[in-house]
């Protein structure tokens, strides 16, 4: 692009700092939200390992339980749980902005869309809890 005058050749360009994400709390919250995906991925791997252990039989399953109770894995899973909850909450907060739901010709208020997500979360958790408890009984 040609400059408009000789002075435009001397535009001041300010480089972006590597630590730009520390400049504002909102940027830091964004980076935390993005990195929470890695922890979601770990929970998927952890679940697949459980499925494999169950398929391999009782001995393998007991070994999986013992491995899960080691301090390192326990700590990792506690951190992962915190990040997965953060991921869910920030995802829900963002949902009404991205999702336009209509009832007839009227737009459903964003607060109701947000509430719908939380209700679905509670119902799904309740359902899973019921299946687990019913299996024990």
């Amino acid at each position: 692009m040609k400059a408009h005058s000789e002075y435009h050749q001397r535009w001041l360009r300010r480089p972006v700092s590597t630590y730009w994400w520390l400049e504002k709390p909102a940027y830091f919250a964004f980076i935390l939200r993005e990195s929470s995906c890695m922890f979601v991925g770990w929970f998927v791997i952890y679940l697949l390992l459980l499925v494999r252990a169950v398929l391999d039989g009782e001995v393998s399953y007991r070994q999986y339980l013992e491995w899960s109770a080691t301090p390192g894995i326990l700590f990792l899973n506690i951190v992962t749980l915190a990040f997965v909850l953060y991921h869910a909450v920030t995802f829900f907060q963002a949902a009404p902005q991205a999702l336009v739901v209509r009832a007839g010709r009227k737009r459903v208020p964003p607060r109701l869309v947000l509430a719908g997500h939380y209700v679905a979360w509670i119902v799904a958790s309740g359902l899973i809890g019921w299946v687990l408890l019913a299996g024990r009984a």
Partner: protein, 247 residues
């Protein structure tokens, strides 16, 4: 409330210096004065060499966007008293090259804006003697929020994605594309889809959401981008599944 406040104003004089410096001025601080009033006081009374853009003084023209104490703001709508006892640090908008003092080059934004065709596109024009293009209030509500954009570029200054990847078409251009896509009189959505679904279009956005937070007109560009992602994905599937494409 103090009757005076200190302004720390970024200066860049390309014929004299290669880096920005700060000059400090003390200006009156009555409760009705905005940052722009302070800058005009400096220009008129203290230092006539200070350069900055402004025009309407009422949040309509979008010219006076600057960085005030680290946040992108319209200086005509930002009261000095909010920052009492000061100092108030005034810098040019971030993510744009600085031409002089508080003036940035907006050429990149203007070129991107034109690419999304922010005007009503018609395949067939009706003659003026025929019926007007009628629109119901509900149809107008579909796009009204996005039509409030004043091209002040605060959203670009707040967007870290634009800072890191200057090819990103950016929040305001996408919101304005949506303003016309959602207009019942417009027929230009397929042409805009080509531009917006490029890698540097909507998919560049990772939903930081700061564009919406800093927007002085409550346009919600972040919402516009996320909604358009869904539209673009559906159109992409349609073009794949339907034999004659989505159009």
């Amino acid at each position: 409330m103090p009757d005076r406040i200190r302004l720390q104003v970024a200066r860049y004089r390309p014929e004299q210096e290669s880096e920005a410096t700060f000059d400090e001025y003390e200006v009156p601080c009555p409760k009705e004065w905005v940052v722009l009033d302070g800058l005009n006081h400096v220009k008129d009374q203290l230092d006539g060499t200070l350069s900055f853009r402004w025009s309407c003084r009422m949040g309509i023209c979008g010219s006076c966007g600057m960085t005030v104490n680290g946040e992108p703001k319209l200086t005509c709508a930002t009261f000095l008293s909010e920052y009492a006892p000061g100092p108030v640090r005034v810098e040019p908008l971030r993510n744009f090259p600085v031409i002089r003092d508080l003036i940035v080059d907006i050429g990149d934004f203007m070129r991107k804006l034109v690419r999304v065709q922010p005007w009503i596109v018609r395949q067939t024009e009706r003659s003026p003697t025929q019926d007007a293009y009628r629109q119901t209030p509900d149809e107008m509500d579909e796009y009204k929020q996005f039509s409030m954009c004043i091209n002040c570029m605060l959203c670009y200054a707040a967007c870290p994605i634009y800072a890191l990847d200057p090819k990103f078409i950016g929040p305001a251009a996408i919101a304005l594309a949506q303003r016309y896509n959602l207009d019942s009189r417009d027929q230009g959505a397929p042409a805009r889809l080509k531009v917006l679904s490029e890698h540097a279009g909507i998919w560049g956005c990772t939903f930081v959401g700061e564009c919406t937070k800093v927007c002085p007109k409550h346009v919600d560009p972040a919402g516009a981008i996320q909604r358009y992602k869904l539209t673009a994905a559906v159109e992409s599937i349609k073009s794949f599944v339907l034999p004659r494409g989505a159009s």
